[in-house]
């Protein structure tokens, strides 16, 4: 069999720009009415602008947050009945809280890139000189902030409905810290999964299929970190789980940054 060098298909360049680099070249000579188009703003400014856009979109037509709130409360009530009015503590409590968070997050992940795909937001973004990593970072930060807001409501509801002896006041900062790290991991991996699924026809089906296996280690680590704090009397949470949680978040942050151009490029 003869060997011939592959011919690139029409429309593909010889080399892609560096991942998460200083900025993709502008694809259009359009005028610059916003901060994304005006000159070459800093990366953080791009992220801030895009994050504000996400929140403005959520404020104008609330979709993600109310859905996640209602779903979480519904699941807690379901557990209340499922456990036959039983209350939980320790690993079981951590599992119920974290799995509920994960399932609620799946709803948010499914909608995270919807506007970009359905309303041409991605095409509009491609016309700006903003780096792809700014959009992915803004998506992850938006989901992270949604999850943190969710926990402001869901955790008190969980304590009220399901936790055996209530929360130890001294444990609250540590619980908040563990949830902060867990939510960051869900947000970063979720932004990635949402972007992958957004390009597909059956995105609603693909999001849980891809996100659940990816997030199992995160839930396992967060459960190990949270379980001692939800036990009565409170036990000591080992530092290695926190470190591993931070490492998991760090790895996915790096992956997100590295592949961001592949997500956004046309």
């Amino acid at each position: 069999m003869s060997a011939a060098p592959p011919t690139p298909p029409p429309g593909t360049g010889p080399a892609a720009p560096p991942p998460g680099g200083a900025g993709r070249p502008a694809r259009s000579g359009a005028p610059a009415p916003s901060v994304l188009l005006a000159g070459r703003p800093r990366w953080t400014t791009d992220v801030r602008t895009l994050l504000a856009l996400e929140w403005r979109r959520e404020r104008r037509a609330p979709q993600v947050l109310p859905t996640m709130f209602l779903f979480s409360i519904g699941v807690f009530v379901l557990f209340r009945f499922g456990l036959q009015d039983g209350r939980v503590e320790g690993p079981l409590a951590a599992g119920v809280l974290l799995v509920t968070t994960l399932l609620a997050a799946l709803l948010g992940i499914g909608r995270l890139w919807a506007a970009e795909e359905e309303e041409g937001g991605l095409d509009a973004f491609r016309l700006t000189p903003a780096p792809a990593s700014a959009l992915v970072a803004a998506k992850a930060l938006a989901l992270w902030s949604f999850l943190l807001v969710l926990h402001l409501v869901a955790v008190p509801a969980f304590v009220l409905l399901l936790l055996q002896d209530g929360l130890d006041g001294a444990a609250i900062p540590r619980i908040a810290g563990a949830l902060l790290l867990c939510d960051l991991g869900i947000a970063v991996a979720g932004a990635l999964v949402g972007a992958i699924a957004a390009a597909a026809r059956s995105r609603e089906l693909l999001v849980p299929l891809m996100a659940v296996p990816l997030l199992i280690p995160l839930i396992a680590l967060a459960s190990e970190a949270l379980a001692p704090l939800l036990t009565s009397p409170r036990e000591v949470s080992e530092g290695r789980w926190w470190l591993a949680l931070a490492l998991y978040d760090g790895v996915f942050l790096l992956v997100c940054w590295a592949v961001s151009d592949g997500i956004v490029e046309d």
């Binding site: 069999m1 080399a15 990635l192 891809m210 996915f252 592949v259």
Partner: protein, 243 residues
């Protein structure tokens, strides 16, 4: 197609290594006094598991090359590595189940983290094809698949690390545990099993890359000669189409 010339020597080398592996495992290594024939699975199951992870990491590497250089051939290499990895992963799960049945009395133990981790990785990669072929635009399909392959390829070793860290292991660790180091000819058979399945993986990977790239080229030529409608779009459901 650039691989076609290497296929014959590669196949011959693989055949020699595979024969050596089979002969050493069956005829040379004595049957274990306590474990019996079951112990022979040590020369099959772990090697499949090791090569599976190598295949997924190789898939991630080629996907990264695709994202970096935008060469369609890298996407095909990544696709084939992952596809082969899925087959090896399934065989590792099945042979692991057989070993579990003979050693522990159960086909599957949900409390065993290594098994569950392997299943998680298998399930994650099982979404690769549905995800890939749910995207119609071939170039976007290739790019999104590469993003997935890089993410999953990094996730697989991380997942193993985390699970080993969080739970006590029941699964034997022949390479880590000094007490269960394989002696003499058994160690040789184990090394040969990894080498033979590694060579088998590389050969099959080459074969599939050559086969698919040839098929893509033939279709391209057919379209040129007979017109764009000569080859049905349904062909897209079986493999990457850009090269």
């Amino acid at each position: 197609m650039p691989y076609a010339r290497r296929l014959l020597p590669l196949t011959l080398i693989t055949a020699v290594i595979v024969v050596a592996w089979v002969v050493v495992s069956i005829a040379v290594v004595p049957t274990d006094a306590t474990e019996g024939v079951r112990q022979k699975l040590t020369y099959l199951h772990p090697a499949f598991a090791i090569i599976t992870l190598v295949a997924f990491v190789a898939g991630a590497f080629f996907a990264w090359q695709h994202l970096k250089h935008d060469r369609p051939l890298d996407d095909l290499r990544s696709y084939v590595a992952i596809h082969m990895g899925q087959v090896f992963c399934l065989i590792a799960l099945i042979t692991g189940g057989i070993w579990g049945r003979t050693a522990w009395g159960v086909w599957w133990d949900w409390g065993e983290p290594v098994l569950v981790t392997f299943l998680i990785i298998f399930l994650l990669y099982a979404t690769y094809q549905p995800m890939r072929f749910a995207i119609e635009d071939p170039e976007r399909q290739a790019r999104t698949a590469s993003v997935f392959a890089v993410s999953a390829g990094i996730f697989a070793p991380v997942c193993f690390g985390v699970v080993r860290m969080t739970t006590n292991l029941l699964h034997p660790q022949p390479l880590d545990d000094p007490g269960s180091n394989l002696p003499g000819t058994a160690g040789l058979a184990f090394g040969l099993s990894v080498l033979a399945l590694g060579a088998l993986f590389v050969t099959l990977w080459h074969l599939e890359v050559v086969h698919k790239s040839t098929r893509i080229r033939v279709r391209q030529l057919q379209r040129k000669v007979e017109g764009e409608d000569a080859v049905p779009v349904v062909a897209r459901a079986s493999s990457p189409v850009t090269l």
